[in-house]
């Protein structure tokens, strides 16, 4: 038996040196809920949904390196309760109206909420005022749905080499901005071919003139829950 293993919810998980708990779990086909993590990008560790207990101590599994012999708890009542509360926070922080959203059924926030049995948003809604940016000819930005995962920021910076997106403000006023003095996407060098155009886990970055191509009920997470990792297997 290799000593490069750890235990995740009772299951022995092998890992390679330098892998995080999340990476090793994904490789082994074990799902840990997450939103700001994406296997192609440098981990960010901000949504905190992937928090696990490693030897009894909370840690974000997307940034915590796997270590030999560590006992990791993830799929527990306590952690899932807390994850549900985090999801509820993300829902009340923005304006999420799933029934009218083009991403419904493809949205990781919605899918994770279904998967963790989130039945209501629980907290009082903040109803922030977030104007839509429809300036670009091919793409629309609906900031109402932004969960500040920074995947578009990382994709544009690290893959596209462009820095189209960035984070501004502090605290609850944190928000996504685009790289133009006008503040409008049309005045950036963003194109439909950018990696950043494809990574939004929710419904902020939307292609124009293409709506409901796949009927509701037949979309990725309508067919399989996100914990079955349908999105990951395709990647």
């Amino acid at each position: 038996m290799s000593d490069k293993t750890f235990v995740l919810d009772g299951k022995t998980i092998p890992y390679a040196e330098g892998q995080t708990i999340m990476q090793a779990a994904m490789t082994a086909g074990v799902y840990i809920p997450h939103l700001c993590y994406h296997p192609e990008f440098k981990p960010h560790g901000s949504c905190k949904l992937c928090t696990v207990k490693a030897n009894g101590r909370q840690a974000a599994s997307c940034t915590q390196l796997a270590q030999s012999g560590v006992v990791v708890e993830s799929n527990t009542g306590e952690l899932n309760d807390e994850r549900r509360a985090l999801l509820q926070m993300l829902f009340v922080e923005g304006n999420h109206f799933c029934p009218s959203c083009e991403q419904s059924g493809k949205c990781k926030l919605q899918a994770t909420a279904y998967d963790l049995n989130m039945m209501s948003t629980h907290f009082d809604h903040f109803f922030p005022d977030r104007p839509v940016d429809a300036s670009h000819s091919d793409y629309l930005l609906d900031f109402n749905r932004c969960i500040l995962c920074s995947l578009c920021i990382r994709a544009s910076r690290d893959v596209d080499g462009k820095n189209v997106f960035g984070l501004a403000g502090r605290g609850i006023k944190s928000h996504l901005i685009v790289n133009a003095a006008s503040g409008q996407l049309a005045d950036t060098d963003f194109t439909a071919n950018d990696k950043a155009a494809q990574v939004c886990p929710v419904g902020v970055i939307l292609k124009k003139r293409k709506g409901f191509a796949v009927p509701i009920g037949q979309r990725t997470y309508d067919l399989n829950p996100i914990s079955a990792m349908p999105g990951v297997k395709q990647d």
Binding site: A60, A85, V92, L148, A168, G171
Partner: protein, 599 residues
């Protein structure tokens, strides 16, 4: 014809040159650039993107993170009232109201003639001589209605700050009790001479022997930190002095940097020799901008005495110098990894740890970050030995601690005690009467009730970064907690979900209680939030954000109970409260403009 962007080159070029066109100086450049118009002009950002080779999103991201940087015009005179609970207890709200009325301006807005803007800011570190404010980043204390009248007059007449009466800017040290640190007649260079005589390795042993622990609050062993950093591989090593003293109620680092800067800088230099650093930083909170000239003089004196610069004290291989970096209104930058991000000219977001700064700090190089007081103490230890220091205080908390005492007492100010002093002793010494509670170590610390006054200030009992705020029985402990909750919501960096949203939810709940709409259900909700913040937050800010509420609910329950409207459930939505905006817009406040029984 000069283009819009080039118009900014005239004042930006000298700033950029002074900072070597380095992207790591972005925050410093923005601070200085702002002084030209009182805000950072959009075209100035365009110019900086070219000169610093940074994308606009990056510059705007930094500029919008720090409270003291503005992308929109502010008043020619930017007035910020310190919003700490101790300022409130001294009447700051009424004084701010008076100023707003006299100058015809609404809080948070700019007057129509662009002359003045008035708002609040987190604790400015003047709690022993409040109420306090900052005008164009310069501190004015001991506000009274008369002083406000005078300030309004000066603003109206557009008198430049440099011509305002000097006594407005006088800042007292208020040192009330001295022990080994404040009593030392420290001689420049004496600790460095002791270091060179004894050797670096041996001096590190003395620091370890002294059992000195970090004075910023966390209490990590200073000797171990220096040893780890010394052993860590890197092309450069760095030493950073954390003078971001942002914890509400703390002001001891201000006093140390005023009267003991030489000893602090000597501590940094010692550390540099031990870990092999050639460059150090003093990260100074923006609120202490007025200290700059004094600190630059001290640094220059040390260079003149060959205690800084190249070949220190004639040692050919001992080169070290210290640069001063300013913060710009962000409490979270007191967290060491956020401070390092800020030093690198970025948003002050705490890093994912591990790795820790001792191995991967400034520019990813091994870095020691210590508190001002820690460096001052290390100079003493180098001079007088570790065993001497370890014999003072308690077994696990060696040495002395500076307390910043404020609130309801006769003699607020700085008190230095050996660790182990009881809360009761401090209260007796500062002339506190009829004390209901003491908030030790600021908003993130512990609220101590009367039955606990025999407890001791020490890492093993009540650890503290230094704040000691006293509340007598006339004070409403609910309002104390609510003030701290607002502080955390304002200062959350927004990086992680639980702290970004949770601190705001908590603020909303406390405001709901304050409007008299609470129910026991809210207590259960607060408890759940507390657990979540503790479990899921990215850094200590989120972990501590519920402390004040948790402590005061446990110890001062009647202050909460009297705000309960019903004893089961009460919705947050309040029809009458929802109408308040409409009332403000229409200027009505008659009975017909109200609904229901609520105020």
């Amino acid at each position: 014809m000069v283009s819009d962007t080039e118009r900014h080159a005239t004042y930006l070029d000298p700033i950029l040159e002074r900072h070597g066109f380095a992207a790591t100086s972005l925050l410093q450049v923005l601070r200085e650039a702002q002084e030209h118009f009182g805000y950072i002009h959009a075209d100035a950002i365009t110019y900086l993107t070219q000169k610093l080779k940074l994308p606009r999103v990056k510059i705007e991201g930094v500029a919008t993170f720090y409270s003291f940087l503005y992308l929109q015009p502010r008043g020619e005179y930017r007035v910020l009232f310190s919003d700490n609970i101790t300022d409130h207890m001294l009447g700051s709200a009424a004084l701010m109201n008076q100023m707003c009325q006299q100058l015809w301006v609404e809080p948070g807005k700019v007057s129509e003639d662009g002359l003045v803007s008035i708002s609040t800011t987190s604790c400015t570190g003047m709690c022993d001589q409040g109420p306090a404010l900052l005008v164009n980043n310069i501190a004015i204390n001991r506000l009274t209605p008369e002083r406000i009248v005078n300030i309004c007059e000066l603003i109206r007449k557009r008198v430049p700050l440099s011509a305002w009466p000097a006594e407005f800017f006088a800042i007292a040290d208020n040192i009330r009790r001295r022990d080994i640190l404040l009593d030392s007649s420290f001689e420049s260079g004496s600790a460095l001479n002791a270091l060179l005589a004894r050797g670096s390795t041996e001096t590190l042993q003395e620091i370890k022997l002294s059992k000195l622990r970090g004075r910023g609050g966390a209490g990590f062993s200073t000797g171990s930190k220096w040893e780890f950093c010394r052993a860590a591989h890197g092309t450069h090593h760095y030493v950073v002095c954390n003078a971001d003293e942002g914890e509400p109620g703390t002001f001891k680092d201000r006093v140390l940097l005023t009267g003991y800067a030489d000893q602090v800088f000597e501590g940094l230099t010692l550390c540099a020799r031990i870990i092999g650093a050639r460059k150090g930083f003093l990260y100074l909170r923006g609120e202490y901008r007025y200290l700059l000239d004094h600190l630059l003089v001290v640094l220059q004196q040390r260079r003149d005495k060959r205690l800084l610069g190249s070949s220190i004290l004639g040692c050919a291989d001992f080169d070290f110098d210290i640069e001063i970096h300013f913060g710009a209104g962000a409490y979270v930058c007191g967290e060491e990894s956020a401070l390092i991000e800020s030093l690198e000219g970025k948003r002050g977001t705490p890093r994912n740890r591990p790795p820790f700064p001792v191995s991967n700090g400034y520019l990813d190089q091994p870095t020691v970050v210590n508190n001002v007081e820690t460096f001052a103490a290390s100079s003493l230890i180098a001079l007088r030995g570790g065993a001497w220091y370890a014999a003072i205080g308690t077994a696990t908390s060696s040495g002395t601690k500076l307390l910043s005492v404020s609130g309801d007492c006769e003699r607020p100010g700085i008190y230095e005690y050996p660790f182990g002093v009881t809360v009761a002793q401090v209260l007796a010494d500062c002339g506190a009467r009829d004390t209901q509670a003491v908030q030790v170590s600021g908003a993130s610390g512990v609220c101590v009730a009367a039955q606990e006054f025999t407890r001791r200030i020490a890492f093993e009992d009540i650890p503290t970064a230094g704040a000691f705020m006293v509340f007598d029985h006339s004070r409403d402990m609910f309002e104390v907690a609510r003030n701290f909750v607002h502080f955390f919501a304002h200062e959350s960096c927004g990086f992680c979900t639980p702290c970004r949203v949770g601190t705001r939810l908590l603020q909303n709940m406390m405001d709901k209680l304050a409007r008299g709409n609470g129910s026991p259900y809210d207590f259960a909700e607060i408890e759940k939030l507390d657990q979540l913040l503790l479990s899921m937050s990215h850094c200590g800010l989120g972990h501590a954000a519920c402390n004040p509420v948790k402590d005061t609910i446990a110890k001062f329950r009647p202050a909460y109970d009297k705000r309960l409207k019903h004893h089961e459930f009460e919705p947050a939505f309040d029809l009458d409260y929802a109408l308040s905006q409409a009332r403000q817009m229409t200027g009505r406040d008659d009975a017909g403009a109200h609904l229901g029984e609520s105020k």
